[in-house]
């Protein structure tokens, strides 16, 4: 008897709640309800890790249009915020260079062309020619010196006045100064 009465009571209450709830929800201002919600307390009850576990990252990323995202990035503004000096200070150049395979890099470089472009062969040829010319001039100077010595000895033997000796052909040597 009591069980039947309880079920009848619940059925009536259910119908009443169903009839009233719709009207109440339409009547109540959502802002008023939200104002009564304590967001902090609500968030405290949320298990973020469990929430993240349920997020399918791959599906999320598939829905992201990277181009659109990048179009919205102001690179100049981003770079303005980067402290280059600080960044450079943090870069370990020696460690970076230690990881560089110089042989592999040089294999791809046309060293011969680079040396040619830099004008190294011309510099070597010029300096070699200059050294050879200097050595030749040194030997020539000694020979000319011997000429002068022999000339002076002969002038003395022949009792000639050196000052009266012609230096060279008129077109090549100007007149001797008094």
């Amino acid at each position: 008897m009591k069980g039947n009465q309880a079920q009848q009571h619940k059925g009536r209450l259910g119908r009443f709640a169903g009839a009233v709830t719709g009207r109440v929800v339409e009547t109540i201002d959502p802002d008023t309800v939200i104002d009564h919600v304590d967001i902090d307390r609500l968030l405290e009850r949320v298990d973020v890790n469990e929430l993240l576990d349920r997020v399918d990252i791959d599906a999320l990323l598939e829905r992201v249009d990277i181009d659109v995202l990048l179009d919205r990035v102001d690179v100049n503004r981003l770079l303005d915020r980067v402290d280059i000096d600080r960044l450079a200070d943090r870069v370990d150049v020696n460690r970076f260079l230690a990881r560089v395979d110089v042989d592999a890099v040089l294999e791809n470089v046309d060293l011969e062309a680079a040396i040619r472009r830099a004008g190294v062969p011309e510099i070597v040829a010029e300096s070699t020619g200059r050294v050879a010319g200097s050595a030749l001039d040194l030997a020539r100077r000694q020979i000319v010196g011997l000429d002068v010595v022999v000339d002076r000895v002969l002038n003395r033997i022949l009792r000639r006045d050196p000052a009266q000796q012609p230096l060279g052909p008129p077109k090549l040597v100007a007149e001797r100064l008094p």
């Binding site: 010196g145 000796q165 040597v173």
Partner: protein, 183 residues
């Protein structure tokens, strides 16, 4: 302490040592090149005919060939550059007696006249030693002279000798400013 500049001798008459050195170099170059050419021709003859060409040559022919080669060597050098390779190494140039550039005809005559200085026991070369302008007999015959010319560079005396001459010889070898020098 003042440094005496090296005295310039570009265009001055070349002395006996320079000319002897250039002559020795020329003789060596002529003999070596003649030998190399003769050996090359002989090798070619052996390859073609199987017989040595030089073995059959006797009498004045090799000497005549050497004389022709020496003539070509000297005449070509003087005509083109006013100097033989030997003179070029030592830094000498043959010019006309007044200093003007040697003409082709004069270069040819000078080459032909060269034996005139050599034949009387080399007496013709004495002029280089005793003549005031250091001109040999063939220079006097063809009206030429030999001067110092180091091409782009200035012919100079050694520093110590320049200093000595500046002290003892006065203006005898005093260098003129480069701007007044002519080639």
């Amino acid at each position: 302490m003042t440094v005496t500049p090296r005295l310039r001798v570009t265009g001055h008459y070349a002395g006996v040592i320079s000319r002897a050195a250039s002559a020795v170099l020329d003789v060596v170059i002529v003999l070596v090149s003649y030998t190399a050419i003769a050996a090359g021709i002989d090798m070619l003859a052996r390859a073609i005919t199987g017989e040595s060409l030089l073995g059959e040559l006797s009498g004045p022919a090799p000497l005549l060939a050497l004389a022709v080669w020496a003539f070509l060597y000297t005449a070509t050098g003087l005509t083109i550059a006013g100097r033989t390779p030997g003179k070029g190494i030592v830094g000498l140039r043959v010019v006309a007696a007044d200093g003007s550039t040697l003409s082709g005809r004069r270069a040819l005559w000078r080459t032909l006249a060269l034996p005139v200085s050599a034949l009387p026991a080399g007496l013709g070369f004495l002029g280089i030693l005793v003549q005031r302008e250091h001109r040999a007999l063939h220079d006097l015959i063809t009206n030429t002279a030999v001067v110092y010319d180091w091409g782009d560079r200035v012919a100079e005396l050694p520093g110590p000798l320049s200093a000595f001459l500046a002290r003892s010889a006065g203006a005898e070898y005093t260098a003129r400013p480069p701007s007044t020098e002519q080639r």
